[in-house]
């Protein structure tokens, strides 16, 4: 037990990006990944003028980093609580894991569903023909979809996210829907797949748009990466973090 705790402490120091280890066979395999901040596929200023460099830098290097750090710390404590059979501690940690794990998942998805404007990725018709077809079938058109998305996002009371998701239907296909999640709750429901997400926390836009979140929602379509959304829709995407 002492050795095991040392090992876990080693993991929590983050000296390795991923640790998968064999433990004594009388333990259920305990392997914890030390999660890391994903590298952005573009520079902080690449989404200008729609999302400012300052917003991007703080959002990625400070906010997302904090979710990663807090997730690693909570998972490390959770493993200790498991090994100590400390059920109250395990339960206490669940909301912290949900919040910070959700924050890590959501931001990782978000960065990849953004791209510099005027690139092929931001052209929905060229980069997401199958998804756009399904959007038109569901909402009557891309503009109608964007309008519904904006109204749904503006209805969030507090911090949260607005998502285009695909829900598995009975015929093995995906049915599209717009959903919101509060705070950092992630989309982890069985049979539901996030296709693209927009961060509606104030830190995502406030330095640039102040209280003008309607404008933020209008502008963000210039930097939505439809290629990523199409890949997710077709089930072909390889998400870095998961």
């Amino acid at each position: 037990m002492v050795k095991l705790n040392n090992l876990l402490q080693y993991f929590s120091l983050g000296q390795s990006s991923f640790q998968s280890t064999m433990l004594a066979s009388n333990f259920t395999a305990v392997a914890i990944a030390v999660h890391t901040l994903p590298v952005l596929p573009y520079s902080y200023s690449a989404l200008e003028p729609y999302i400012s460099s300052q917003v991007m830098e703080l959002h990625h290097s400070k906010h997302h980093q904090a979710y990663v750090d807090n997730l690693n710390a909570a998972l490390s404590s959770y493993v200790t609580a498991l090994l100590n059979n400390d059920i109250p501690a395990q339960i206490r940690l669940q909301s912290i894991i949900r919040f910070n794990g959700g924050g890590h998942i959501n931001h990782s998805l978000f960065w990849r569903n953004l791209a510099p404007s005027e690139t092929p990725e931001t052209d929905p018709v060229a980069s997401a023909p199958r998804l756009v077809n399904e959007i038109e079938r569901t909402w009557g058109g891309l503009d109608e979809f964007k309008e519904t998305f904006a109204q749904t996002a503006l209805g969030i009371q507090g911090s949260g996210w607005c998502w285009l998701v695909g829900k598995q239907n009975g015929r093995g296909g995906l049915q599209l829907a717009i959903v919101t999640t509060k705070d950092q709750d992630p989309i982890v429901d069985e049979g539901m797949r996030p296709l693209l997400g927009v961060d509606m926390w104030e830190h995502a836009y406030y330095l640039q748009y102040l209280n003008g979140k309607t404008k933020y929602l209008e502008n963000i379509w210039n930097v939505i990466n439809w290629k990523t959304a199409e890949e997710r829709f077709l089930g072909a995407s390889k998400e870095e973090a998961f």
Binding site: L58, H63, A66, S95, Q157, E202, H203, L210, N211
Partner: protein, 227 residues
């Protein structure tokens, strides 16, 4: 408090009230209005910037006031039509905007410039109660900051008095949920990002430290004595 929050508009908008009474319901409607601040937007500098105060009061609070009035109107319309399903469906909007209006109104009043009533420590009966329930003012302050830091998303932390037991407690509320029921809010700190982001960015711990310099303990003591 409600008297200061709602101003009857019967006199000023007599025509409107008369029009409403045509539906067969004769009632006096109070309309929420944005309260004036008792200090300038720049008066809480350097702890809270003038820019934050201006946006927070003139834009954010105003939006809650407008949202509350719209929700009340929509509920009254639904009620007039006997559409109680519709009325009930408006409850979340009433809670959010009504809570936003109440919370901000309390907040502005429990702040004051550091050069005037702001900062320092409470005295008298409130000081005694804090020491009895938290051990010391410093312990209370630390617990309040821990509660603020622990909020996952948008929300508020409050020092509240339990009307039944008379005890003080620190409570947090998500989003704009107001402190109601047997708890009487004495002092609130806004943990929404719009309350600090322009000045403190992601460093919210610095904001939670700084705001103690502008807490109006005189107001808090008055609320404590009335509760």
């Amino acid at each position: 408090m409600s008297a200061s929050l709602f101003r009857t508009v019967l006199a000023r908008h007599g025509a409107l009230a008369a029009k409403r009474s045509l539906a067969g319901n004769s009632f006096v409607r109070g309309k929420a209005t944005l309260p004036d601040l008792k200090y300038d937007y720049g008066a809480l500098e350097p702890y809270i910037s003038a820019r934050i105060m201006e946006l927070h009061h003139s834009k954010h609070h105003q939006t809650y006031v407008n949202g509350l009035n719209s929700a009340l109107e929509a509920i009254a319309e639904a009620e007039a039509k006997g559409d109680f399903t519709k009325a009930a469906s408006l409850a979340p909007l009433l809670n959010f905007h009504g809570g936003g209006h109440l919370n901000h109104t309390l907040f502005w009043e429990n702040l004051a410039p550091a050069s005037r009533e702001g900062g320092g420590e409470p005295d008298g009966a409130l000081k005694k109660a804090i020491e009895a329930d938290f051990g010391s003012f410093e312990t209370f302050r630390k617990q309040m900051n821990a509660a603020l830091t622990g909020i996952q998303g948008s929300g508020w932390a409050w020092l509240a008095k339990d009307k039944d037991s008379g005890n003080l407690a620190i409570v947090t509320r998500a989003n704009q949920d107001p402190v109601t029921g047997q708890l009487v809010p004495l002092m609130g700190i806004d943990a929404w990002e719009h309350a600090y982001y322009l000045q403190y960015e992601n460093r919210k711990a610095e904001y939670f430290e700084a705001i103690w310099n502008v807490i109006n303990w005189k107001t808090v003591a008055q609320r404590f004595e009335k509760a």
